[in-house]
Every structure is written in C-alpha cells, then in structure tokens.
C-alpha cells in the first residue's frame, strides 16, 4: 500500500493539530509554548520531507517521534544542568516570595499560593522546599537583627561563661540523688539500667525520675 500525503503546504497546514498535541506534552518545563510549537512545526516539515511513501508506514507513526525529538532538542542546552542546582535556585525565589506574601496576607502562604505567584507548579515548589527553610516570624522584621524570633543572640564570653555557670548552678540546685542520676546518665553515658543498678533502684523508676528532672532542667535553662 502506498500512502500519499498530498501537497506539502496544505498537508502541513492540516496536521498542525498533531504538533499542538505534541507540544502540549512539554508545557511547564520553562520554555514558552510558542517556541515549543515552532520547533514542533520544524519537526513536522522534516517528517513530511523525510517520509518514504512506499514503505507502507502510517505517517503519524513516522512523524510523531520526529516532532517530539525536534521539541526535545530545545531542552538540550540546559542538558547538563543538575537538578540539585536548579532546585537551589528555585528555593531562593520561594524564600523571597514567601516573605512578600506573608506580609501581604498577614499569614503564612500555602504552597499553592507561592506556586501561583512564581508561575510554577505546586509540584516544583514542593520539590524545592527543603524542610529547614528559614521559618518566618510574622512579626515585622526590624533593622535590629536581634529582634527576630528565632535568632540566637551573639553571646559575649561573659555570657557564655554565665551560661555554663547557669547549667552548673541548676545542677547544684538538684537534690543529691537527682544530680547523681543526671551525672551518671548524661556525663558518664550510663544506660538507664546501669544507672538503676548503681543507684539501687529499677530502670522504670530511673526512667520516670529522669523525665521529670529533664523537664525541670530545660524549663530552668530556657526561661
């Protein structure tokens, strides 16, 4: 069976729909649709010119891979760009937009709001968000860096010393038994069972006591 395509111009006009269908598959990859479509048209022309009517092949079977291949070439330039790099770049943008939107709405934006503003997909945003992106505080950021919620102030040597003393002091405030428990567990790296044996009690008792003391210690250190 011989397939005849007919006049070039007309045939190509009639098959632009095929190019559209192919080009749509590449949407959202960062290249304008018009460019995708033009490359696809190039592919269609190439396919028309290269098609061997005597081989009995269906035109689309031959043409679709050529069109897809031609569009794919557009992406080759960025071919060596590693995902890790591109994600880093997007995550910087996300950070900036997140800050802007938070101010605008007075609450944290969701990933879809961020995606919309950046004109990328939610999927891309989610991929680019790394779990430890700076958490924003909604209080306005003053020039004074110390004003931010999670900042740990730059500590002078005196303050450091004071902190270490504070820890020691807090430990001193504990009852002797509790202090021994903490020393054994966290400074001598003993297990609860070992500590229990040394202190002549049970592991369960140690476990309960320990939780209480730790909470107590933490509250004292944090406030």
């Amino acid at each position: 069976m011989v397939v005849t395509l007919g006049p070039r111009e007309e045939f190509i006009q009639n098959n632009l729909g095929l190019v559209h269908s192919c080009a749509t598959r590449f949407r959202g990859r960062g290249i304008e649709y018009d460019d995708l479509f033009s490359a696809g048209c190039m592919g269609l022309v190439k396919a028309y010119d290269g098609f061997d009517e005597t081989r009995g092949l269906c035109f689309s079977t031959y043409a679709v891979p050529v069109i897809l291949g031609e569009i794919k070439k557009l992406f080759r330039d960025g071919g060596t760009l590693k995902v890790s790099r591109s994600i880093k770049e997007l995550s910087l943008k996300i950070n900036a937009v997140r800050e802007v939107l938070s101010k605008q709405y007075g609450q944290e934006p969701t990933v879809s709001q961020i995606a919309e503003r950046l004109e990328v997909s939610v999927e891309q945003v989610v991929q680019a968000i790394n779990a430890a992106m700076p958490t924003l505080s909604l209080t306005p950021i003053s020039d004074d860096e110390q004003g931010r919620e999670f900042d740990i102030p730059i500590e002078s040597h005196e303050e450091e010393l004071a902190d270490k003393l504070a820890l020691r002091e807090v430990l001193q405030e504990l009852a002797p038994d509790d202090r021994q428990l903490i020393l054994l567990r966290f400074f001598k790296n003993q297990t609860q069972s070992q500590t229990a044996r040394i202190m002549n009690t049970t592991q369960v008792q140690i476990s309960r006591r320990e939780r209480k003391i730790l909470l107590q210690l933490r509250n004292k250190l944090i406030t």
Partner: protein, 110 residues
C-alpha cells in the same frame, strides 16, 4: 545532598556545611571533619551552617559528637551561621546553652 568544605589555618579549623543534614549525609560530614581534625592539632573548630536547608536530630548528634571529641582533644567548638529552623532544632535539643554560638554571619577567624 550535603556538602562540607574545610578550611584550616594553624590550629584553627572551619567547616562550612551545606545542604540537607540527615543520618545519611551526617556520616559523610562527620568523617570529613574528623579526618581533618585528627590530622592536625586543632584547638578551635567552627562549624558554619549557613547553607543548611534541612536538619533533623542527626545534625544535633553531629554537633554533640564534635563537641565531645574536641573536649577530649582539649579544643573548643563554635557554631555559627545557623538558619532559624536549625536554631529551632538546637533549642528543642536544649543545647543552645551548652554550645558556643557566634552570630549568623561568618567570622574572619576562618
């Protein structure tokens, strides 16, 4: 994933950590730092977390481990450049009062 760059000057060493710190990457970071630490007589290690984008409790273990090692070697550990969410993790760990912090920006010691 994660990356660590080491700079050394005399007995002072700086480790710039970036990327995601989980148990997988912490192992590599730890080896790189410890190898460099032990190779030379270091009495001050600064760990910079400026480029860190994710950190779970493995990062706390990484810091505590270096803290203990340096104490044993008679040296000192300083943490700097921690993003807010890393701070959150450190605060939760209750070690912000034990470990030395230098502010958000890198210091000229390294």
């Amino acid at each position: 994933m994660a990356d660590v760059k080491i700079e050394r000057k005399d007995s002072v060493m700086c480790a710039y950590v970036s990327g995601e710190i989980d148990h997988h990457s912490a192992a590599e970071i730890r080896e790189t730092i410890d190898r460099a630490l032990i190779a030379k007589d270091i009495n001050l290690l600064t760990m910079d977390f400026g480029g860190v984008t994710f950190m779970d409790s493995s990062g706390v273990g990484l810091i505590l481990g270096r803290y203990k090692l340096l104490s044993a070697l008679g040296g000192r550990l300083v943490i700097q450049g921690t993003p807010p969410s890393v701070n959150r993790m450190l605060k939760l760990a209750g070690i912000t009062k034990i470990i030395e912090f230098k502010g958000e920006t890198a210091d000229e010691t390294c």
